[in-house]
Amino acid sequence: MDELTPLLAVLGVGVLLTVALRTLARGVVVAAPLADVVPHAGGLPPLEHPVSRFHVRWYVVTMVFLAFDMEMIFMYPWTLVVAQRGPAAVIEMFGFLALLVAGVLYAWREGALRWT
């Protein structure tokens, strides 16, 4: 818990600074906020609300990323014990990584990493 006290202090200072900046701005700003601005796409008014279900063409990349991200959760603690555990830990971790990389290369060969 002791470790976290300075972090809470930093968080507090960060929030405080941001709030202070916004308060300061409210004091010195030239005019009250502009409301209902039409979103800019070149000057002509929009026909629809731009917030739409955006077609994320790189969704396969998110899957690849997730696989690696899970792996990271193992790898961070692994760094602490690898020296004690010796070659076995190395073989296990890098064998696992090799499998993941093979998956990436397969996805790449299938063209999943290009979307235009």
Partner: protein, 313 residues
Amino acid sequence: MSAAPPLGLSILLPILLLAVAWAAVAADVLAAGRAAGRPVPWAVAAVTPAREALRLLVGQRRRTVGGDELLRGVGGAVLPIAALLAAAVLPLGMRPVADLGAGVVWFNAMEVFAWAAVWLVGWGSNSTLSLIGGYRFVAQGLAWELPHMFALITAAVGAQSLRVTDVVAAQGGLWFVLIMPVAFVAFLLSVAAMAFWGPFSAPVGRDVAGGAAAELAGVDRLVFVAGRWLLLVAAAAMAVPLFLGGGHGPWLPAWAWVLVKTLAVLVALVALRHRIPTIRMERWTEFSLVVLTPATIAQALVVTLVVLGEGGF
């Protein structure tokens, strides 16, 4: 361990980051002027950060039709706060504000907040171009994060610790950049990428009229832009304890070495930025996953074997 009260250091931290960010912006103005063949005098470059900040401070804010003001505000504020929190584990000299046992993981976790922040700003603006910018950042993030994490882990393996001060201590003799150059390069690339800056500035690119920031004005824009520079500075400064020996060095005190090395990393990034164009995210994704990720994994393997060899196995 409690040499300085945490409150004092946590107030000092934003001041230091802002000062370095100021220098970085000024250097960027100078470099931009040189690249354009229209040199900017030092004095003008030095006051530019302040003038631009002031311009946004007194500027009117604006809200878009049907936009989500709350999400956008939160997104903007997350950027500088995440940068500060990430910088909390940076040794300023030999001691960080918070010497976490898992400092490397903490840094990683904080800097990933930028993903949410930029996307929220892009989405909350309810603007087509902002939305495209926000999604660009997420796509880029998916790509740079993997080599970035392997670079962090390689440094941690080298020191056999996730504590940043231990990583620095392990570099008393040999800087990690010498035994893990690939990880260092991957880390530098991800520094620019996480701050969506330089070759990775597509999320706020000119082609999308400012992208995620396209509808931001006044203090909203100031918080966003300042957060971006703070993120760049915090991440560039992290390269120093991880790869460049932290506060180790002759003649100067540790804090001075940290400062000098951080500025050197920033100057290198700024100089490089004006020599190269923006990289399109789909190109980067392919390169990052197919080339850089395996390369950093190989680097991690090499370092692991070196560590085991030294351990007497």
